[in-house]
């Protein structure tokens, strides 16, 4: 009998530990995420997503000086306003050659802002939150806030490098004749 009781206690203990984790996540994180997401969803709706079309047209111009618009400003603004996955539609204003680099930069920016702007990709919140929740428990909320800002800043640097590097690799294999032949078919 004792064995059965001990087993039952151990068995339910597995799920009680999960329930405690769940309570912590729900009460500690969901209220803030809901309020933040509501604020930014409303802001985006009031700005109007169609206003970034012009920016996207400028980003497609040739020349090195437009690359920060193409691989930094446009991905950031698209992800903030259109969110994942609609942000990638902004690629339609760019020349074909630039699309892979833009996609790489934009898709790499759907997680770095999550600590401050969860509305950009709430379905994948735990890419950030898994580590962030642990940091909050172990090192406090201030450390997590600092981490959120650092994640965002490094994100800006990384997406620009990714965009440029993917652009370089695309250019290396790109063949204008093959592209023309493929689109003529």
């Amino acid at each position: 009998m004792n064995i059965l009781v001990n087993f039952a206690v151990w068995f339910i203990g597995l799920f009680q530990a999960g329930a405690a984790t769940f309570t912590g996540l729900v009460t500690g994180i969901i209220p803030l995420v809901i309020v933040l997401m509501t604020a930014f969803n409303a802001l985006v709706a009031l700005i109007g997503p169609e206003r970034i079309d012009k920016l996207a047209q400028a980003a497609g111009r040739p020349g090195f000086w437009y690359t920060p618009i193409r691989f930094l400003i446009l991905p950031v603004v698209s992800v903030f306003i259109l969110t994942n996955p609609m942000a990638y539609t902004m690629g339609r204003f760019l020349p074909e050659k630039n699309k892979p680099g833009f996609y790489d930069a934009a898709v790499s920016f759907v997680h770095p802002p999550l600590g401050i702007f969860p509305h950009v990709n709430p379905g994948e919140l735990f890419v950030w939150l898994g580590i962030a929740a642990g940091v909050t428990t172990g090192y406090g909320a201030a450390a997590t806030a600092q981490l959120a800002i650092l994640y965002l800043i490094t994100g800006l640097i990384v997406i620009y490098i990714r965009g440029m590097w993917t652009q370089f690799l695309t250019n290396r294999t790109w063949n204008d004749e093959a592209a023309a032949a493929a689109s003529a078919e």
Partner: protein, 178 residues
Amino acid sequence: MKRFSKILERVGRGAGRVVGTLYQAGRDSIDQVLKNILPFMAFIAFIIGIINATRVGTAIANALVPLASNVIGLIIMSLIIGFPLLSPLLGPGAVIAQIIGSLLGTQFANKALPLAMALPALWAINPQVGCDFIPVGLALGEAEPYTVEVGVPAVLTSRFFTGPLAVIIAWLFTLVVY
């Protein structure tokens, strides 16, 4: 009087628009929480609960902590996850990144991992981001089939380099900040 009613109408319309937008924003947020965030929390809570209550946690910690407690280990992790053949398989729904992140999170929670490794770790678990989605993402940007043909390998091979590079950049940042 006519002017006054015009102002009233304008104010009323403006207020109605703002309130309606805010209300819709709230509805969208609650939708997201119910459909995406809460189910994932339930899933993560279940896994972490089991891990905390059994010895599995110690085993995982023994495997992950040595890899995640220094920058070389994190670079190796990003090389594995960002490998061009693996990255499209590990990408979908960012599930792998979210699970590894949560496992690492438990080790930050009990201070087995130093705070300085949190930023490089965030980058190390995620070099595969979007690698499963390249053709769809390019199609959303109305790319030609030829662009997809060239673009998919370009992004995949690019990640094998920029994935570890992101870890190094993050590590340099933490050297300055912490």
